[in-house]
């Protein structure tokens, strides 16, 4: 016997465009679905219904008016009070919501697809067909996602919450980029366009001397023309102006900024400060030491990598817009003050993402680092995970500071830089293995990867660490032989396919040359070897967006349209697995997140389009409605 409770027509503000949609309108002409009519919210289990009624609980119809994000909150409050009131009579009853969907891609190998997902207590109770879920007792059927495609909440395995902090400044990038409000800032295709946007931003500042800061300039796209101080002087000669390069390693400034820093003078002899014909700095400051004297004058805070509260909030809103429910913040110094703030903010009832923040090896000895990370681990909570170490071993390929094996850089640039001595890496690996702490190691160049592998082999002989999941981050230039070793020592890789799109043409022609450019970020080799694989954006270096990153891994297309490494392309299915359960595995969270199956957190990416149906070419254009995180619903258009 079944008891159906008919409810009135539901409507809510939804969809990417924020247009008013009626549920019925959305559903028509949807495919036939098993179970009861879709515009009905159902509570089942007559026995429990009787218990509810006999306990004098609110009428069941009170539960079902899910017509906006606001009433959703009301719903949760209502649900909580309901639970309280029934606890007295039946302690094992909790509210179950079943969402119907056009399609659910589960990443559960035992049942890869589902039409419904049941959520209870912020976790997945079941994913399958509605009729299979009847045995779990009372539920509410929620059809708001009936026309959506659901995936496990996307996992960004390597980003920085600094992406949220940077939106404080003027976006000056060459490519279109979405801000935390969902506004897409068009890419700036000429120096004039850069000047125009900065001039508009300057007009909004009150004081004529207030500094103006921008970010994400990519000088390689302006026909070999460097941006100099004379360009930026067109915006203002009164206020200091500084524009951070996309790589984060160059700061372009105007004349006023140089004057304030006392550097508008002849006779400067520094490799990071090019001079003009008159012997004065051009305004291009390369490298942290050359940038530092200008930073304070141009409005950049001293330490951009330090996590700030508004930035952490903005970052989470970007997560919702890109379908991300868990993001790794890969290189934080995590001082106590920042940790206190992160603990507080991520515990707020409406904070929509889980942040995994790694403690970077810096300022402590390896022994102190282990103690510190064990301490941090104790402060982990549902939406803030601490207790992993990050080591930065070398520099970047486009900055020619990555450590490459023979024959080195294609353009003959000198060998790159070590940021950590091999002895320290070795000691960290040994101590971390002994203490059961996971280590993620940044290795851009293949020599850095080689060193990490050597250290890993030595360390494992001393401290066998089953399931250590030490992960090589970027690992961009590893060759097949290295992947075989990576497999043998049980490491994971988190590759950086976004590089192909943004800098692939430069890698082909300048940095590493054709052969190695085509093997960069060898996703197919990693999968073939059985190496656990994640892929990442390194936001803010490239924009946060796992579906875009997946597109890069599937197509390996450069900005100019070249397919860079046809044989290292991976399938859409593999790419989607990689941005969910694959990335979760590298964070040791695959038992909690990364798939839609019983027991996992109720983390879902809610998509307007089916990423498996749009074709690999269009993967980056899949529209994101929002997310469900821990059972809480976050609509991008309303966040």
């Amino acid at each position: 016997m079944e008891s159906f409770v008919p409810v009135k027509q539901l409507s809510w503000s939804g969809g990417a465009g924020g247009a008013q949609q009626s549920l019925a309108g959305v559903l028509k002409p949807g495919p036939p679905r098993p179970g009861p009519p879709a515009d009905h919210v159902v509570m089942r289990s007559p026995l429990r219904n009787q218990l509810l009624l006999s306990a004098g609980c609110p009428s069941r119809t009170n539960l079902v008016y899910l017509d906006s994000a606001e009433t959703l909150t009301t719903f949760f409050i209502g649900a909580a009070s309901l639970r309280q009131s029934i606890d007295a009579t039946e302690s094992d009853l909790s509210v179950t919501t079943i969402y119907s969907a056009r399609k659910i891609i589960t990443m559960n190998p035992a049942r890869p697809y589902a039409t419904h997902v049941a959520v209870r207590d912020g976790r997945i109770l079941s994913a399958g067909a509605l009729e299979e879920m009847q045995g779990w007792g009372d539920y509410m059927l929620d059809d708001r996602f009936a026309d959506k495609v659901l995936m496990p909440g996307l996992v960004e395995g390597h980003s920085h919450t600094m992406e949220g902090s940077l939106w404080e400044y003027v976006y000056c990038g060459y490519f279109d980029r979405m801000d935390p409000d969902g506004k897409v800032w068009p890419g700036l295709k000429s120096v004039d366009e850069i000047i125009e946007r900065l001039t508009q931003a300057a007009a909004r500042l009150d004081e004529p001397t207030t500094p103006l800061a921008g970010w994400s300039l990519d000088a390689i796209y302006y026909g070999g023309r460097r941006i100099n101080r004379n360009d930026l002087d067109r915006v203002s000669t009164e206020r200091a102006i500084g524009i951070l390069n996309a790589s984060g390693h160059i700061l372009n400034v105007n004349t006023k900024a140089l004057q304030l820093a006392g550097l508008l003078k002849p006779g400067i002899n520094h490799p990071g400060i090019p001079l003009d014909d008159e012997g004065l700095p051009t305004g291009e400051m390369k490298g942290p030491d050359a940038m530092a004297p200008l930073g304070i004058h141009t409005g950049f805070d001293r330490d951009l990598l330090a996590c700030d509260e508004p930035g952490l909030r903005r970052f989470a809103r970007l997560c919702v817009r890109t379908g991300v429910t868990t993001a790794a913040d890969l290189a934080n110094m995590l001082p106590d003050g920042a940790v206190d703030m992160m603990v507080r903010v991520t515990a707020e009832p409406d904070y929509p993402a889980r942040i995994v923040s790694l403690r970077r090896f810096y300022g402590l000895t390896p022994a102190e680092l282990i103690d510190r990370v064990l301490e941090l681990e104790k402060r982990s909570q549902q939406n803030l995970r601490l207790g992993i170490i990050k080591v930065v071993l070398d520099g970047s390929i486009q900055g020619f500071s990555a450590r490459l094996r023979w024959p080195g850089y294609y353009n003959g640039a000198a060998e790159g830089l070590w940021y950590v001595p091999p002895e320290h890496l070795q000691e960290i690996y040994e101590r971390a293995l002994a203490a059961g702490i996971q280590v993620h190691t940044h290795t851009n160049g293949d020599e850095a990867t080689e060193l990490a592998l050597d250290c890993m082999e030595t360390s494992l002989r001393k401290h066998p660490g089953p399931d250590h999941r030490f992960t090589l981050q970027h690992c961009q230039l590893a060759d097949a032989a290295q992947y075989r070793r990576i497999k043998t020592v049980g490491m994971c890789v988190n590759l950086f396919p976004n590089h192909h799109f943004y800098w692939g043409d430069q890698h082909y022609s300048i940095t590493v040359g054709p052969d190695r450019a085509e093997r960069m970020n060898a996703c197919a080799t990693a999968l073939r070897m059985g190496v656990p694989l994640a892929i990442h954006s390194d936001a803010p270096v490239t924009p946060l967006g796992p579906l875009f990153t997946a597109w890069c891994a599937v197509n390996r297309r450069t900005a100019s349209g070249r397919v860079l490494g046809e044989h290292e392309r991976i399938s859409v299915k593999d790419a989607l697995r990689t941005i969910t359960i694959g990335a979760a595995y590298t964070l040791k969270l695959d038992a909690e997140i990364g798939s839609v199956e019983t027991g996992k957190r109720a983390d879902l990416a809610v998509l307007e389009d089916d990423p498996e149906a749009v074709g690999g070419e269009n993967l980056k254009d899949v529209r994101v409605w929002g997310t469900v995180q821990g059972g809480r619903i976050f609509e991008a258009a309303a966040i």
């Binding site: 530092a292 004297p293 000895t365 102190e368 830089l417 070590w418 950590v420 091999p422």
Partner: protein, 306 residues
Amino acid sequence: MPLPITIIGGYLGAGKTTLVNHLLRHANGRRLAVMVNEFGALPIDEDLIEAEDDQIISLAGGCVCCSYGEDLVSSMAMLATLRPRPDMVLLEASGVSFPGAIAGTVGLVPTYKLDGVVVLADGETIRAQAADKYIGGTIRGQLAQADMVLLNKTDLIEDDDIVRRWLNGTSGEARIVRSMYARVPFDVVFGTIWRDGKHGVEVADRYHADGYETLAFVTAPGVRPDQAVTVCADATTGLLRAKGFVPRPEGGLAQIQVVGRRGEIADAPAGAEPGVVCIGLADQINRAALAVLADDRNSITERQAS
């Protein structure tokens, strides 16, 4: 007066920490400010530490220590504002960094002046390190950027001549100073041999027992400042440091300073008197080469006799 800064480089285990402590113990009233890369492994002996706060550690004898981390420029600027002002700064580079790159950055901070780059080498392991497949290039690069190489732990090697010859081929023009436990005179690291712009001829030959020798002379008429620098900085002269005041052909005095292979000329402060003071290893100073500069050649040969 610009604040002189000496950069100490060298790989892990070369003896940088030992050197820092040795210098702090021999500062002899001079306020030495030590900048370390990071506080993690604080390279200061505990008995020297008087007080700690977030930014600065106060040390015995008016010395201080601070960590510069990833913001060298700001830390240098902060140190220069301390009152009382430090007399000189010692910057300890991290084991994998290139002291030459740091030297370039020093020029970006007003009120500072690079004094010299001293790179330590572990006499026992330096050749193996320089051949290492991972760090070899870094080690060789550090040595090539040195004004002076401190070949340390010579007590652990049987024949340091072999290492010295090898170093000569690797570090170019840099002077090589042998040491045990990084015991090297303060004046060699900092060029403080000449003080207050006063005539230095009476400088005591106080390092003689350690194998060092100091010389002082007044330049002969017609010797230009650039000639004096060229001779003093020439490897065959065998000096580690020279400092003093030499008349300019057009009138007035120039200040010359030589650290190993590095030499420079600046305006002399008011009240300076002509004269040059040098320090070198007793068995390496080439007096004949220096004699061409001296007004009274006997002053040099006489000192040799003493």
